[in-house]
Amino acid sequence: MAVETAPVKEPLLSKKNRRLLSDPLDSNNPITIQVLGICSALAVTTQVKPAFVMALSVIFVTAMSNLATSLVRNYIPNRIRMIVQLVIIATLVILVDQFLKAFVYDISQQLSVFVGLIITNCIVMGRLEAFAMANRPWPALLDGIGNGLGYGAILVVVAIFREFFGSGSLVGFKLIPEAAYKAGYFNNGVMLTPAAAMFLIGVIIWLQRTRNKELVDAS
């Protein structure tokens, strides 16, 4: 468990706090560097729209559960802390789902398939354990938002490739004209399989580490 630093009064958007938002976008990306949340990155990236919805949901859940956990972090018994974290996440997701079903039914229909995927997303639990348990609420909230954004960025990039090459469309709009299909072009079926997502993420990891040598693990 991370050691809690002595409380220092930080301005709300100090450099340190801003880095909580920006680091997970690149140098500490949850998918490509922390290697978390891979499962859903493979499952929901066949198209851009569900990838985007999933990203928004994860941003919200990670941020809120980071906040909730941080608020009660000093009261959680150590031996059951993972269970407590899971309860916080699950409760949050179920509450959100219930409210959506009551007030914006159409959106809840879109989201209900994601609910299971969000609760089991390693990123959420990973950040609770690595950050929220040892940091104050505001930084925890920012960390949650930042990691959600980093996750979302990768998801949308992978989805753009998979939807375009696998279905010839983007956000549902057909981009490749019928003429191209008639001339012999065909959609890449492999792109619709999770294997393709794995390859794409591998390529992103490779490009990221080529660009920033510091990220290469010293083995």
Binding site: M54, N74, P77, L192
Partner: protein
């Protein structure tokens, strides 16, 4: 601050948290249930109106309610073709009914009358890859030709199985397809796998990468739509008598 590592505190915390969360979730679910049920009912009405040709996305809720009340009547039948007087089609949960044996199920049927056109809309449940799938299928008064179909599902994969609900081109394939062959045998609709299939009036193309869901759709129509056959035969005979 109490020592959080003692057995007593740990057990106490666990119990306290469980009770708190249980009360919170149960309370919220109960409080919101009336609104959720209302939404679900409205959604069912929207789906039914969609199968008979209305563009419910542009309609206001009040309009949906009014149109539904005006144009749609309903009945509940069983597999023997008998009408069940005391049942309300809108109150029947086909997901729950599907757990009963086919002989015991209550089958909701909606009827749309406009001008000289009559459409019969059945409410079906099937099994997808992960959980249930459902559909409303509107059938023309020859009890053979499909007018339109809409799908829903609980947990199919977004971008794959979930496409049965989202993808217009998949749903539109069903329009005009026939359930009986030339000799009058029940063949239902076959959902074909692979690309470049030669389709006829009993086949549609499946969704690539969603084999199990597509199979689920096929089975749902083949087994569950067939349960309405006795009632449809009854109506067919009534039609002949009128001529």
């Amino acid at each position: 601050m109490p020592n959080t590592n003692t057995n007593g505190y740990t057990i106490g915390f666990a119990i306290g948290m469980t009770v708190l969360v249980a009360v919170l979730l149960a309370g919220v679910a109960t409080a919101l249930k009336p609104m959720q049920d209302k939404n679900q009912l409205l959604d069912a009405k929207k789906k039914i109106l969609t199968t008979v040709g209305y563009n419910t996305e542009t309609m206001k809720n009040k309009e949906v309610e009014a149109t539904f009340n005006e144009k749609i009547t309903s009945t509940v039948v069983n597999y023997k073709g008998e009408e069940l007087e005391k049942e309300d089609a809108l109150k029947i949960d086909v997901i729950k009914e599907a757990k009963l044996k086919a002989e015991d199920r209550r089958l909701p049927l909606f009827v749309y009358k406009e001008g000289g056109k009559i459409l019969y809309i059945a409410s079906l449940k099937g099994s997808g890859l992960w959980d249930w799938i459902s559909s409303y299928v509107a059938i023309q008064s020859d009890f053979n030709t499909i007018e339109s179909i809409v799908f829903d599902h609980k947990a199919e994969t977004p971008g794959l199985g979930a496409e049965i609900k989202e993808r217009k081109s998949f749903k539109e394939q069903f329009a005009g397809k026939k359930l009986y062959d030339e000799s009058g045998n029940w063949v239902s609709i076959t959902v074909k796998k692979g690309e470049g299939n030669l389709l006829n009036e009993h086949t549609v193309d499946g969704i690539t990468g969603a084999t199990m869901t597509s199979v689920g759709v096929e089975d749902m129509l083949k087994s569950n739509l067939k349960l309405y056959e006795a009632y449809f035969d009854k109506l067919k005979n009534l039609q002949k008598e009128k001529i």
